[in-house]
Symmetry: C2
Subunit: 247 residues, 2 copies
C-alpha cells in the first residue's frame, strides 16, 4: 500500500476541530490521522458531527501518549509552526513541504506533519521531534490560522503534487466553432445589416465590417452559440410581429 502523510494533531483541545480536520484531510484523500493526548480523551462525541461524513478518518484515528510514539514509523516530520528563535531547522512553505512529502512517499517512506493545540501551538519540545518547520505564509498582521484551515492548506498542497486536473478546461463540450462557421455568421450579419441601411457610406463600410468581424472573433462562440447568434439576427431582422410573451 502506498504511504501517505500522517496528520498528527498534538494535544488538540476541541472535538469539533478534530472533526473539521478529518473532513479537510478526506477532501484531499488523506486518512492517516493521529492524535497525541487529546485533551478530552478519545473518542470524542463532538468530532463526528463536524466531520460531515469523514467518519472513516475518525474511525481509523490512532491515539498516542507522546509525539515520539506518534512519529515512530515516520521518516521525515514537519512541524507546522512559525520558526522559534534558536531552533536549528530549515523552514519551508506548504508547497515545498508538499513536494518533499511526495518525494518521500515515492521513495517508499512515510512523512508526517505535526499540528499544535488550538490556543498555544506546538511547544519547543514538540518541534524538536521534527526535521523541518513548515510555516504557512500568512498576513503578518493577522497570522492566527484555525487548526482545520492549516490542515487543509497542507493537505491541498500535498495533493497538488499528484493531482492531474488541467489548469484550464475549455468552456464548450462541443468545441469552439470552426472559422467557416464564423465566416458564415459574419456574412449573415453583414447581409441583414446592409438591408437595414447600417453601412452609411461606401468608404466607412470596410472599417465597420472589420469592427463587426473582430466582435464575433473575440466572442469565440461554440458550434451551438453560432446557431443561437444566427437565430437572434434572423429574429431582429424580421418585420415586427406580436411577441407571444407580450401582455
Amino acid at each position: 500500500m502506498t504511504h501517505q502523510p500522517a496528520i498528527i494533531l498534538v494535544r488538540p483541545q476541541l472535538g469539533e476541530n478534530i472533526g473539521k480536520a478529518a473532513r479537510a484531510m478526506l477532501n484531499f484523500g488523506l486518512t492517516d490521522m493521529r492524535l497525541v493526548a487529546p485533551r478530552d480523551g478519545w473518542p470524542n462525541p463532538d468530532a463526528g458531527p463536524s466531520a460531515s461524513g469523514a467518519d472513516i478518518v475518525l474511525d481509523q484515528a490512532q491515539v498516542f501518549a507522546t509525539v515520539e510514539e506518534a512519529v515512530a514509523d515516520c521518516t521525515h516530520v514537519f512541524a507546522s509552526t512559525v520558526r522559534e528563535r534558536g531552533m536549528a531547522k530549515p523552514v519551508v512553505t506548504p508547497r515545498e513541504a508538499g513536494k518533499r512529502m511526495h518525494a518521500a512517499i515515492a521513495a517508499g517512506t512515510r512523512p508526517a506533519i505535526l499540528f499544535g493545540p488550538e490556543r498555544s501551538g506546538l511547544t519547543n519540545d514538540d518541534v524538536v521531534c521534527a526535521d523541518t518547520i513548515l510555516t504557512v505564509p500568512v498576513n503578518k498582521d493577522f497570522g492566527s490560522l484555525n487548526l482545520a484551515q492549516a490542515v487543509i492548506l497542507c493537505a491541498y498542497e500535498f495533493d497538488q503534487c499528484r493531482d492531474e486536473t488541467p489548469d484550464v478546461q475549455p468552456a464548450y463540450e462541443d468545441g469552439v466553432a470552426s472559422k467557416d462557421q464564423l465566416i458564415g455568421l459574419m456574412q449573415h450579419m453583414e447581409r441583414e445589416l446592409a438591408a437595414k441601411g447600417y453601412f452609411k457610406s461606401e468608404d466607412r463600410r470596410d472599417t465597420q465590417r472589420r469592427t463587426l468581424r473582430n466582435l464575433i472573433q473575440s466572442a469565440a462562440p461554440s458550434h451551438q452559440q453560432v446557431q443561437t447568434w444566427r437565430g437572434i439576427i434572423k429574429s431582429l431582422a424580421r418585420p415586427d410581429a406580436p411577441d407571444s410573451s407580450d401582455t
Copy 2:
C-alpha cells in the same frame, strides 16, 4: 488604492460561517467581503466571535440584494462550483484563478469570486453572472468543501501570486560551518577515537575514517553545532567522573 478580489458570499446561511470566511480572508490580506441576501440579515451576532479578530472585514462588508448588484463594479467574476452541464464557461483551478486575478488587478481592474450557500451551492442563475468557473480539485469521493475552507484555498492561491516567502529558509541563523571547522572536528574525533583503540587494524583505518567523515559531512552542522560536537567528544573521551545529575 490597489484593487483586490471581492469575496462574495451568495445567500450565506450561518453567521458563524461568515465570520470564519472573514478570518480566512484576512489571513491572506483580503478585506473586500460582499454578502448577497444573507439568510439571517446583517449584521449577524454569530459572525463576530467566529471571525477571531477579523472584525475589520465584517465591519466593512457590503450587503446587496442580488448577485448582479454585488458584481456591478467588477470585471472578471469567478463562480466557485463544480461545472454544471451545458454551462458554457471555462473551468479553472484555484491556482489558475489566482494568476488571472493577479493579472486583472495589475491591469487596474477588480476581480471577484462567488461562493454559494452552505447547503446547496450556487444556482445556475448565479453562475450565469460569472465569466469563469473555479473548481477546487477535491477528492471525487468526498467533495463537500466547507464554505470557509473554499474561501481560504482561493485566498491562499491569490496570495501565492504576490507572496515572496522563499520556498526554503536555511536552518541556521549563524550559517553552516565552513569546511575548515568541519575538518577540525573530524581530526579531533579521529584523535580521540585512536587513543581509545577504535581503529582496529591499519588496513581498515582508511575505510573507517571515510565513514566518519561522511557522517559529519552529511550532518551539515552550524558553527554553533560544531562546538557542541566538540564538547560531546571531549566529555566522552574523559575518564569517568561523577555526573552531578546522578542520584
